[in-house]
């Protein structure tokens, strides 16, 4: 199980890193979007799959990061790129803290979902009226940045260089989130998802933990947006649209929301389906809809859950000759 997982991660990473040498720019561009959307989906699932909170307006955080970084690069403010990414994360965290303080006080579940959806739509409309942010047209021709590390200056002005930067950023963010989710903090969040009241009687301030998770999730979503701005080189109010908010949800459901890597697997699968059906107008929606239906009906724990079940069945069959089965079933988080 462990070896399989590690192998899959290494294989995936190698594939992404080798892509610019073997395929054309169009595919590399899509792969870059996959990295960004995967980070975005991980941030959403930290709330949904781990803490048990559903945000239906998560694209708002993404847009906050994308606009801040996009504006900073376009206006040539002279702020280093890493500074802009950090500022995006901080702004995302700040907005999450302010909205979370109000929303999480009373609402969880469906009310939280609708409130976040409404707030995100408000943000999108406000951006559409803001001349500074280019109104409905958004910010176009955003330049790719130069990375200044103090001891070295790395130009990310070429597509390939920026792509590699995103891969590294994705790995770092993924690793940090993995540790957060698998350590004592993640264990607590998973417990809150399962029974918040029981957790309160363990002496934990559940409201505060939920707010922390909301802030962390908002910050990571904003960082995903910050990475997006120079990659797409254009940011429009569409990035805050509710349709964009559904992306991480669909990816998490497809991949498996109760597994850490589920959202990443889901994002990759969605992009592959989209790419394969790109010439058939309307078919991609049909295929995605059908896939989701099958997944929800046949495998509620997503593709990862399906793989895990198959794996367990296989190992049980292999062990059955040797003696009683010692495998008690996998843990929820992987």
């Amino acid at each position: 199980m462990m070896a399989l997982r590690l192998g899959a991660i290494l294989f995936g990473a190698a594939l992404f890193l080798a892509l610019p040498t073997v395929s054309d720019q169009g595919i590399v561009f899509l792969a870059g979007l996959v990295v960004i959307e995967a980070i975005f989906a991980l941030s959403w699932n930290l709330l949904f799959g781990f803490t048990g909170l559903a945000s239906f307006g998560h694209a708002a955080f993404f847009a906050i990061g994308a606009y801040l970084t996009g504006y900073g690069l376009k206006a040539g403010l002279g702020v280093p790129f890493l500074g802009l990414i950090a500022a995006s994360g901080l702004l995302g965290a700040l907005v999450a803290a302010l909205t979370g303080l109000v929303l999480l006080r009373r609402t969880t579940g469906i009310h939280l979902a609708i409130f976040t959806l409404a707030l995100a739509e408000v943000l999108r409309i406000v951006i559409g009226y803001s001349t500074l942010l280019g109104r409905e047209d958004g910010l176009a021709s955003i330049p790719k940045p130069t990375l200044e590390l103090g001891f070295a200056t790395i130009p990310l002005t070429s597509g390939t260089a920026y792509y590699y930067f995103m891969c590294v950023a994705g790995l770092v963010i993924g690793a940090v989130l993995w540790v957060v989710c698998h350590g004592p903090y993640g264990r607590l969040l998973v417990s809150i998802r399962q029974d918040p009241q029981r957790v309160a009687f363990l002496g934990v301030n559940v409201g505060r933990k939920r707010l922390q998770a909301f802030i962390l999730s908002g910050a990571v979503a904003a960082i995903a947006g910050a990475l997006y701005a120079p990659w797409a080189q254009i940011v429009t109010p569409e990035s805050a649209h509710w349709i964009h908010s559904t992306q991480p949800m669909l990816a998490s459901l497809l991949g498996g929301a109760h597994s850490f890597w589920g959202p990443v697997v889901g994002t990759v699968l969605f992009s592959i389906i989209n790419y394969l059906t790109r010439n058939l107008v309307g078919l991609s929606e049909l295929v995605i809809g059908a896939t989701l239906l099958i997944i929800v009906l046949a495998a509620p724990s997503g593709v990862i859950g399906l793989v895990r079940t198959a794996q367990q069945r296989w190992s049980r069959r292999r062990k059955s000759g040797a003696g009683p089965d010692g495998d008690e079933g996998g843990s929820v988080r992987s």
């Binding site: 607590l188 998973v190 399962q194 029981r198 009687f201 002496g203 008690e328 843990s331």
Partner: protein, 258 residues
């Protein structure tokens, strides 16, 4: 004896339903205090009020010399109140051991004891040792790796008991600890409570329908009916009370053997 918990003139209504009518009681440090009464007497509401699960209109709750009337559940837990629920509440999607690990870590963090940092992915050895000890306490050591949802009803109750114990409470509130258990499990649970009480000097407050369990464990009994206290005292005093006789007429309280 000193009072560890006192309820002073508490009123609680749900809408127009007056559930608790000026209820007052005192639990002494180290005793086992049982609350009994017919269904709908307000036992569970009293429990919820004492643990901080719900608020109340009038009166005061004092724990260990401190007014905790307005303190939320997690603060009372930090002060040393532990509880179990009528229907066992555990974390079904994770293993039995993880259920206890999260409880141990939560207690250590909230009481300022040594707790692992967020980046410690592997469970620390001292925490694993403590979890093992709790598993042995409640007799679930052989099921440590089982996902909690696959446990039997009685084992879930025991696991919840372990979760409450992992909080190292000074006072443990048990809402029908043996409800829905087989007779063997009931005896085992009663023995477990008696043993832990003897080992740690734990104060226990419990509601229970099984009179054998009550008579076997309780130092004092409080009888409720329609939101009012009709009797408090030792088993003999309560049995001799004419009002209790009326409420429990012909019921098991007079048939149960000591």
């Amino acid at each position: 004896m000193t009072a560890i918990l006192s309820v002073e003139g508490v009123d609680k209504s749900y809408g127009t339903h007056h559930i608790l009518k000026s209820v007052s009681l005192t639990v002494e440090d180290g005793e086992t205090f049982a609350v009994i009464g017919p269904n709908g007497a307000g036992k569970t509401t009293l429990f919820k009020v004492m643990t901080g699960e719900i608020g109340f209109e009038r009166g005061r709750i004092v724990y260990d010399g401190r007014d905790v009337s307005r303190a939320p559940a997690h603060e009372r837990a930090r002060l040393g109140m532990g509880r179990t629920f009528q229907v066992a509440r555990i974390f079904p999607d994770v293993t039995v051991a993880d259920n206890l690990t999260v409880a141990v870590e939560a207690r250590r963090r909230s009481r300022g004891e040594s707790a692992p940092a967020w980046y410690r992915v592997a469970t620390r050895a001292d925490i694993r040792a403590e979890v093992e000890a709790r598993l042995l306490d409640v007799g679930l050591a052989d099921k440590a790796a089982v996902e909690a949802k696959f446990l039997s009803h009685g084992d879930k109750k025991r696991l919840e008991f372990g979760i409450a114990l992992a909080g190292r409470p000074r006072i443990l509130m048990l809402d029908e600890p043996t409800a829905g258990m087989s007779p063997t499990d009931r005896i085992a649970t009663a023995d477990l409570i008696a043993r832990l009480r003897a080992e740690t000097g734990l104060t226990v407050v419990m509601t229970e329908h099984d009179m054998d369990v009550i008579f076997g464990l309780a130092d004092r009994i409080l009888v409720m009916n329609y939101g009012e206290i009709i009797a408090v005292g030792s088993i003999e005093e309560v049995r001799a009370n004419p009002l209790v006789r009326e409420v429990y007429l012909g019921q098991e309280i007079y048939h149960a053997e000591r």
